[in-house]
Amino acid sequence: MLMLEMKGVRKTFNPGTVNEKVALDGVDLALEKGDFATIVGSNGAGKSTLFNAITGGFIADEGCIILGGEDITFTPEFKRSKVIGHLFQDPLKGTAPNMTIEENLALAYLRAGTAQRAYFSRISRKDKELFRERLALLGMGLEDRMKQPVGLLSGGQRQALTLLMATLVTPKLLLLDEHTAALDPATADKVLELTKSIVAEQGITCLMVTHNMRQALDLGNRTLMMNGGRIVFDVQGEERSKMTVDDLLERFRQRAGEELDNDRILLSKVEGA
């Protein structure tokens, strides 16, 4: 069953001006339910723009987007977010710093249909138990700090909390935009492990932008490569499992007719060597 379908999605920013930029140049993408695809590409290839098109940060100029059989092309952002989880590189973006851990989770839990109608209900004991149980799974001791403001947490803890919030009510689609890139290596590993286990456990369909070529091939079941607002390469199955990082870079050279100019990709390649 198809979970996400994008057909001929285009977006031009600042049309008709000197700053005109074709950010998405006819993107076609189909994700099966339970697919976990990684996305690589140069700076400005359109990876984040693709995510924003899906979440509704802007409405696409052309094309259509279908999520779980429902056409969401013109659905406003806050309605799409009911079924789409989105994590950013900046760990500060996904949580409200002056509110407690418990209050942040309560907001995320609004996605559950039953809670949405109860405007004047407060956080119940049952909710608190659920939050505590889920927080314990993170293994960060956050379950004992539920009354503390989120602003006191470290970047890694906040990102783990954001991940938990995005998946508290299982989303149809989870978008991860380099969500471990701003964390220190040990914390990044930890958050990545959590991501893997949560995604696998709930069978979430997932798209993940990464600059780490190793990760792009190891994680998930599919790798996409973007360039110039298009998906230029899409590999899965046996072909993918045989692929090395050098193969991937070579493939990029062929498809894009240029070197991969993402500085962090090059750095991570040096690190890997």
Partner: protein, 316 residues
């Protein structure tokens, strides 16, 4: 001398006014501290509450007048919110536009006269005087305290509900709110409507307290309410919601007390706006001044330590 300044009478009337004006401070607490929106329609909205209250108290009933004023305040807040969330007017502009428009509306409500009197009609305070006969001369304070206590308690309760949490998150991290399937346009709308109703209620109570309404009664109200808010937050901190809301009311009472003391020192009435502005400026700059003093102190200590260990003065 000191005894006459801090007499019970001064304290009592400062508390009465502090509680009445505390409602505006509570309104700004919601729009400014919680939602992070500078809503400049406060002045006009306060006068609107005054004017509507006077008109309804004269033609109807003083209690009904309070609710009518709140309804008018909700409408005013709705228009401000509609301008900024649906029509793309910047929040400060939306407030200024509504404030300007309200001047004419307020005159119209008062029958195109610049003032109105409630001397000959019943007010909630004159009704309360009979009801609270046991309290003697304290009946006005009791009424004002009851109103602000209800408003404060409702505010604390509301901010803990799911809708209240959504409003708090809107001011804290708007991007996260959209990602949590909440429409920020809706939460801003609800927040500003509540804020407007509190502002208008404050104006309505003041009209009945003073038994009059004047077209300029709201001038500078936003500054005064902000001062109360910041005095409260500076003195009581931001640890819990109860403390924050309590701090707002406390700040408002303290502000009124300072004003009362200033009046006792025979500061002419015409100079009161300047005194208010000074109090506000001092209150708002207090955190920065404190920080500066702490920094200078640390620098001084470090210099002394340096001089001790190296036996000579550090070049500046």
């Amino acid at each position: 001398m000191l005894a006459s300044i801090f007499s019970l009478n001064v304290l009592q009337s400062a508390l009465e006014l502090g509680c009445i004006y505390g409602l505006v401070a509570l309104a700004l607490f919601l729009s400014y501290s919680i939602l992070n929106i500078a809503d400049l329609s406060t002045d006009g909205c306060f006068t609107l509450g005054c004017a509507v209250c006077c008109q309804v108290a004269v033609t109807g009933h003083p209690v009904l007048a309070l609710f009518a004023a709140m309804a008018a305040g909700i409408l005013s807040g709705f228009i401000t919110a509609f301008l900024q969330t649906r029509l793309g007017v910047e929040s400060i502009m939306a407030g200024i536009i509504v404030n300007t428009g309200l001047y004419t509306i307020n005159l119209a409500v008062m029958g195109f006269s610049s003032n109105m009197s409630l001397v000959k009609v019943d007010t909630v305070f004159s009704l309360g005087k009979n009801l609270l006969a046991f309290a003697g001369s304290w009946y006005q304070l009791i009424l004002a305290v009851v109103v602000i206590a209800i408003a404060g308690a409702l505010m604390v309760w509301f901010l803990g509900t799911r809708l209240g949490l959504s409003i708090r998150a809107t001011g804290d991290n708007a991007a996260m709110v959209r990602a949590s399937s909440i429409d920020p346009a809706y939460t801003i709308m609800v927040g500003l409507c509540i804020s407007g109703s509190l502002t208008a209620l404050s104006g309505a109570l003041l009209a009945q307290y003073q038994k009059s309404c004047d077209i300029n009664v709201g001038t500078g109200m936003v500054t005064i309410a902000l001062a109360s808010l910041i005095i409260g937050e500076t003195l009581l901190g931001k640890r819990s919601m109860v403390l924050r809301v309590g701090g707002v009311v406390f700040g408002s009472c303290l502000y009124r007390f300072i004003v009362a003391v200033a009046l006792r020192f025979n500061v002419p009435a015409a100079a009161m706006k300047l005194v208010s502005a000074l109090i506000v400026a001092v209150a708002i700059s207090m955190p920065a001044i404190r920080q500066k003093i702490a920094f200078e102190k640390r620098k001084q200590e470090a210099r002394l330590r340096h001089a001790k260990t190296h036996g000579k003065k550090e070049a500046v």
